[in-house]
């Protein structure tokens, strides 16, 4: 079935290729004519289970279809991907196929490292038939397609309904006001004032991503439309960071240091938080840690003036200077095909980017992934300008500064915006 689906995907892309472009590069791939040794740099499929999936299941299927292609895999993690890519570019040994994150495409496409997939036959319109618009745009730069999505990481609100029900609430909050109210009602402190349960947890998630989720729920955006100026220091941005700071300092529904990104068990699983912003793989974590809480975990879109849901993810790209572009393209198409993408998502507990996979058994059996896919139309991504990778590291200190009361939300965001603008103008 997987092979059939892969062939179908290749055929589909081939059709698009014939429809939207011209020239030799647009010819459909003939598996017998595609050959060569190519390299794949991947921040997913790491660790034994991922490696087994790729090498024992997926690549044999690929080789069955393209017997004359050899793939050398270079495994890494997202933590090391930047260094890997940087040194690869400097040394001129750019891998033929690179998997990279949302927000990364702009930088590498702008610098000419990535191949324009439009020249290989992939058009924006065609991709938008299979993915939501925002997801397709995550792989685009300057109007051209440079990447095809494989999997998504989403962040949204999650409530422990057993705790909320104890406090007299039947459903997760549907507005910021309700969020504050429920968070206050479910926060538990001991007699000496130390926090025992956070009403709303934001600290077990990267500060930048937590802010982005709240920013989107305020109706704000990271950058202006042509990504030439920061927009996160708008009224919406200040309100979003203001709410986060107030939840800590005014409403006291969470203390600094109560949870952290290093926590092994998510506070929503062990009941140390009643609500929080969480990654979709919380479902998989709960499945492994404590199955009994699964029924009590309720996902919700954080609702302010807009719907707050954030997505990142992994996309497949081809190097601009690949010596075997047809082989690289074949691998890209294979990895983003429904079966291969589904297997990779299932292994990591992630959200498939392909809309058609909503009906798959995996998605239907994982309520968080299903919820994420059902709400992808409101999900927004980070990134925008080609300098995103340069500036994204500045977000966490700015957000932390506001949460710690070192700066007002307005000051923190204005200072950050100045830094970002300098980088954009550089």
């Amino acid at each position: 079935m997987r092979r059939t689906a892969s062939v179908a995907m290749v055929a589909l892309l081939g059709l698009g290729l014939a429809a939207c472009s011209a020239g030799e590069a647009d010819a459909d791939l003939n598996p017998d004519e595609v050959s060569g040794e190519i390299s794949l740099l991947t921040p997913i499929f790491e660790g034994s289970p991922g490696q087994d999936l790729l090498e024992d299941e997926l690549l044999p299927q690929f080789y069955e279809e393209y017997p004359n292609v050899t793939v050398n895999v270079d495994y890494t993690t997202y933590g090391n991907l930047n260094e890997k890519l940087t040194t690869a570019v400097v040394s001129g040994l750019v891998p033929d196929v690179m998997l990279m994150g949302v927000g990364w495409i702009e930088a590498f496409a702008d610098k000419g490292v990535l191949a324009d997939l439009g020249e290989l036959g992939l058009s924006e319109d065609e991709l938008k038939e299979s993915y939501t618009d925002e997801i397709v745009e995550a792989g685009m730069w300057d109007g051209n397609v440079y990447a095809v999505p494989i999997m998504l990481d989403t962040r949204f609100g999650v409530a422990r309904m057993d705790i909320l029900k104890e406090a007299g609430y039947d459903s997760p909050p549907s507005s910021w006001e309700e969020l504050i109210e429920i968070a206050e009602a479910t926060t538990v402190r001991s007699d000496n004032g130390s926090l025992e349960r956070a009403g709303f947890d934001m600290m077990s998630l990267d500060a930048r991503q937590a802010f982005e989720t709240m920013l989107f729920s305020a109706g704000g955006a990271l950058f202006n439309e042509d990504a030439t100026e920061p927009a996160f220091n708008s009224d919406e941005g200040v309100a979003a960071l203001g709410l986060m700071a107030d939840l800590v300092n005014k409403y006291e529904v969470e203390d600094i240091g109560f949870t952290s990104t290093d926590d092994i068990v998510n506070p929503l699983i062990n009941g140390r938080a009643a609500m929080g912003i969480a990654h979709n793989n919380l479902w998989t974590q709960a499945l492994e840690a404590d199955e009994s809480v699964l029924d009590d975990l309720e996902p919700f879109v954080i609702q302010g003036d807009a719907s707050g849901m954030f997505f990142g993810g992994t996309l497949a790209t081809v190097a601009n200077n690949s010596k075997n572009p047809q082989a690289a393209r074949a691998l890209l198409e294979f990895l983003s095909s429904p079966d291969a993408a589904l297997a990779a998502n299932e292994q990591r507990g992630n959200v498939p980017a392909l809309t058609e996979l909503l009906d798959s058994d995996y998605v239907q059996s994982n309520r968080f992934v299903q919820f994420a896919m059902e709400n992808l139309d409101v999900a927004q991504r980070e990134g925008g300008p080609s300098q995103w990778l340069e500036v994204r590291g500045d977000f966490a200190p700015a957000v932390q500064g506001a949460l710690l009361g070192q700066k007002t939300p307005e000051e923190a965001l204005d200072d950050l915006a100045a830094l970002v603008q300098t980088a954009i103008d550089r």
Binding site: K111, I256, D262, A396, P397, Q400
Partner: protein
């Protein structure tokens, strides 16, 4: 005649040899074939090291200096911008904070770990039972990967489940959010740095202690000196060369702290624990600003050179 007096005949010969080079007749020393062979063999033997140092140290150092005056973002050729990187760097509040943090980190970790190391070394040099076990135990942090160590310290510092807060609780003291509270994050990192640095310093001190002539202690004992007096009057002065060496390598090590910051705090919260090396990393691999990273590396190098020269000067004066 004491041994310190100079022999009149030899002194005269020596004086005669010390003729000004400009006035002395240039005599070409004849080198024997055997000597030539020896020299050639010597050069051959050091050639791999010279090539290695040239290729992997000298060229990168020169390149770093050159790139520090350029705008180099990897994807395009370096563009010469004179001192712009330096001007920007010294106007960057985060980099200035990283200098302050690095100096503060060094100020605490170096003396603390040196003081503990010398005490531990002296104690472990007394012929205690289980001496080998203790030496291994103290040296273990040195040979354990910093990342693994940092993971253990992450648990120790965990505000909820951590060992440190549990200990404080038993003493009736309030726990802290060690790594996420700007007030405590840097001291927590300093504690890890000081602890981790004890092993190698202890080893050097033990080696130095074993070279101290026992007769000095025996003579002091005969004079009725106490253990503390012997420590300060014999051990400490005799350890001076080792102390200087340990001091220099400790400063260099402290200025180069990176991995524990990377794992423990990622420079946070709100840049409270960012260090110079961490900023170099951020500029190079997060911002792709190799020119700026090179300029920051040059400043780091200048700091180390300055501290080393000062230390040498102080030690020379004392000698």
């Amino acid at each position: 005649m004491t041994t310190t007096e100079r022999h009149p005949i030899r002194s005269a010969e020596a004086a005669a040899k010390q003729v000004s080079p400009s006035t002395a007749p240039k005599k070409r020393k004849r080198i024997s074939t055997a000597e030539k062979k020896r020299r050639r063999a010597g050069w051959l033997m050091i050639t791999p090291s010279v090539i290695h140092v040239g290729l992997w140290t000298l060229i990168p150092v020169i390149a770093t200096f050159y790139l520090s005056f350029t705008d180099y973002g990897i994807f395009a050729a370096p563009k010469w911008i004179w001192f712009d990187n330096y001007v920007e760097m010294f106007n960057d509040a985060v980099f200035m904070q990283s200098i302050g943090n690095t100096v503060w980190y060094t100020f605490w970790t170096v003396p603390v770990s040196m003081a503990v190391a010398v005490v531990v070394a002296v104690l472990l040099n007394q012929g205690l039972k289980l001496q080998k076990f203790y030496r291994t135990a103290f040296f273990l942090p040195q040979v354990t990967a910093t990342v693994a160590i940092a993971m253990v310290w992450l648990w120790i510092f965990n505000p909820q489940y951590g060992l440190l807060n549990a200990m404080l609780e038993t003493l009736g003291l309030p726990g802290q959010a060690w790594l996420v509270d700007p007030q405590w994050a840097l001291p927590a990192v300093i504690l890890v740095g000081a602890w981790q640095g004890i092993g190698i310093k202890m080893l050097i001190y033990i080696a130095a202690l074993q070279n101290i002539d026992e007769s000095l202690y025996e003579a002091a004992s005969l004079d009725g000196a106490s253990s503390i007096r012997k420590f300060f009057s014999i051990t400490v002065p005799m350890l001076k060369p080792a102390t200087f060496f340990v001091f220099i390598i400790s400063i260099i090590g402290a200025f180069q702290v990176f991995d524990q910051i990377y794992v423990l705090t990622d420079g946070g919260p709100a840049n409270a624990t960012t260090m110079m090396t961490y900023e170099v990393y951020r500029s190079a691999f997060q911002e792709f600003r190799m020119g700026m990273a090179s300029a920051q590396s040059v400043v780091l190098f200048a700091f180390l050179l300055f501290v080393t020269l000062i230390s040498r000067r102080v030690t020379k004066e004392e000698d």
